[in-house]
Symmetry: C2
Subunit: 149 residues, 2 copies
């Protein structure tokens, strides 16, 4: 019974990841879904890598039917933060709830005393929608210095 619920959630999570992948692709991103997505591995990788004109977004997706806060456990968070740091990209938490999709900068999430990361209801509401995310990425396009020399 518990296992069935876990599998159901995993399948639904996968569907949401695919949907977000398609949304980003339609906005001109080169996108790739992690094969490790949804599974536990010693080498953690974010669910989605989305790239556009040299800007790298790493996106961890959390899909929720209800509930106000979204938690990312310490171990998982530290793994994907390390991945993001090596890549030189920026890590986002995508929160998918009914009729709502928000992208939150991971660096702005609150940490609990236990070291877990939490997106509060307020933080989720203040997150970027897809349009705002695209504008944010476009604002980061900047030519390297040597292209001016």
């Amino acid at each position: 019974m518990y296992k069935t619920l876990v599998n159901y959630r995993k399948r639904r999570g996968t569907e949401e990841e695919r949907r977000i992948l398609t949304l980003l692709r339609d906005r001109g991103f080169a996108v790739i879904r992690s094969p490790a997505s949804g599974s536990k591995r010693k080498d953690p990788v974010p669910d989605i890598v989305a790239m556009k004109d040299g800007v790298i977004l790493l996106i961890e997706v959390k899909s929720r039917r209800n509930g106000k806060q979204v938690y990312v456990k310490r171990d998982q968070a530290e793994g994907i933060l390390e991945f993001a740091h090596k890549s030189g990209g920026e890590l986002f938490l995508a929160v998918k709830r009914p009729r709502e999709l928000r992208f939150l900068k991971f660096s702005e999430l609150r940490r609990t005393d236990g070291g877990n990361f939490v997106a509060t209801e307020d933080a989720i509401r203040a997150g970027l929608d897809l349009d705002a995310l695209v504008r944010y990425v476009e604002s980061k396009f900047s030519k390297p210095l040597d292209s001016f020399l």
Copy 2:
């Protein structure tokens, strides 16, 4: 019999991709293997995405036991070139032969009259080995202009 051979080649190709993934990870890259790798899809994605400090490498892997030239078919090549273009990264062909691994800039491959891409024996020998690839990537690290302002 033919199908067995195809499956054998695919499995060996997957092993080589994993090995290259590990080599790059050990050199400080954030790496991800395409889930589409080895399968035909309408939305082509290179086998490996490797990122380091904002530099994006897209890598298509061709593993060969023997044979001098390596071909990439026009349709596949155009798909992954488009992906690379959108991402702002640079596309490489990794040629794995016994006791040899070379990374070739896709932009320097020769095109046949039919539009396919070919890595000649000379081009493969002149390709970058892993150390040279890492040095090449490190030479591309450059701060965006606004970090100087």
